[in-house]
Amino acid sequence: MSNDGHLDSAELFRRYASFVAHFLVRMGVPRGDIDDVVQDVFLVAHRNGGYMPGPAKPTTYLAAIAFRAATTHRRKGQTRSFVKAQDEVVERAGDERMSPERDAEQKRQLAILDRALAALDPDKRVVFVMAELQGETAVSIAAGLGIPVDTAYSRLRAARQIFREAAKAFMDEPSKKSPDSVQQRVGT
């Protein structure tokens, strides 16, 4: 890092690659594709000259790039069924060091989390993920995405409400149904 706060892409990668990877997962990029998309994000950051201090923090600067990458990637990947993609996420989630019971519970929670996040439209999802899962402030999120701060807040409020309802619907689900059938309930 130079004295002026500039971070080149290699330094950004060292510091924030994990952040970007988590962000991409929560934005719906399949785990098997994460490294490819992470590479795209940092390649773009490199071509942009790295990070220069400004209204956006390095994290929100990268998240704004990753948002575009995730959105594009998801469109390309929509030939896969939603259920298959979600199952893949569940199967790969978890920590091998955990007990089987805890591992299963975490998989279940992560599956529900991702399905509830999928109930959000991309504009709300990105704000929600950055705020609630990655601890960014609305000011920094707004700066990174190039939207007014009030808009960031209003999207976050709306996203929270939708997330609550979706999470409740999925948690109440007695057995695994198709995501669409549960999302129907979310809308009611």
Binding site: S9, A10, Q39, Q78, Q109, D121, E132, D150, Y153
Partner: protein, 332 residues
Amino acid sequence: MKNPQTPDTVSNATATDTPMWNDPSEPAYVRELLHAGRTEPLGYDVAQGLARHLANVQAGAPLPDWAQAAASAAGAGSSAWLSWLVLPVVAATAATGLWFATHAKHPAVVQSAPVVVAVAAPQPSAVAAPAPAVADVPAAPAIATTPAHSAASGLFAKQNRPAHKLARSADGPDSASAKQLDTTAGSKANMDATDRLMSAPIASHSVDHASAPVAAETKTAAHEETSAVAAPAQKTGTVSESRLEREMQMLAVAQRVLSSDPERALRLAQQGEREFPRTMFSAERQQLGLLAMVKLGRIDEARRIGAPFLAKYPNAPWSARLRRALATGRAD
């Protein structure tokens, strides 16, 4: 979340000050889900990823398609982080070009593909240069009520405008215009050959109800909308560009007036479906028409058309919103 820099948003800050995962007033399951997401051991190998990144940089790896034009715009002087807001436009343009190249039978339309591909090339001039033929399209009174939608300005010219203006000009501060373009580009994936919406519910609806007052008005107004924007040229390489621009303008206006004038929004959706059947924007346009129906109180009709539509597009970016609207009878 703390928001010390914006005293004018104190009420907002109060409403969102505490993260949900740490807010005792939130249901336990919400906090647990978010905690699971925050602490998930993803196990991404940073060292290995960094090695690959450095190799990519050293080898001069090309930018991903979605970033090429934006990088050019940024290189031409745009703010780098703002430039991401124009990406949906570029993505929609490139995707449309590919779609025309692979699906359209008219040879003149096929010729448009190289033009659109050139947009995605990383030369700044490819983005900076306005498309001359687009400038020949007369301004559209109905659409030109929004300054940003002067049909005389080409799509590429718009890309050179500050991104925040592009995002706000049509639909207000919520960047709905950019969102509109974003979601319409998203419907490209839904236009897979095996999954394309072969019938147009909204258009079918307008035929089914041709004698209804609204439908009759639609016919008249549709003529007005049609005459408002000159039909695009048919023999140049910019055919798809001008058609795309017109189609996008109609969509953007329909989106903008959805709340204030749902009747017009529905009319524009129907008109768009008749004029641009089975394009990459069809699904987006039809969901807009369904939302307009809900707003007009035509709930049963919207549900009847919307049920198979949602079954076909269960996970599009707008599906959840439409599903809620059909379920509650209220479009947010």
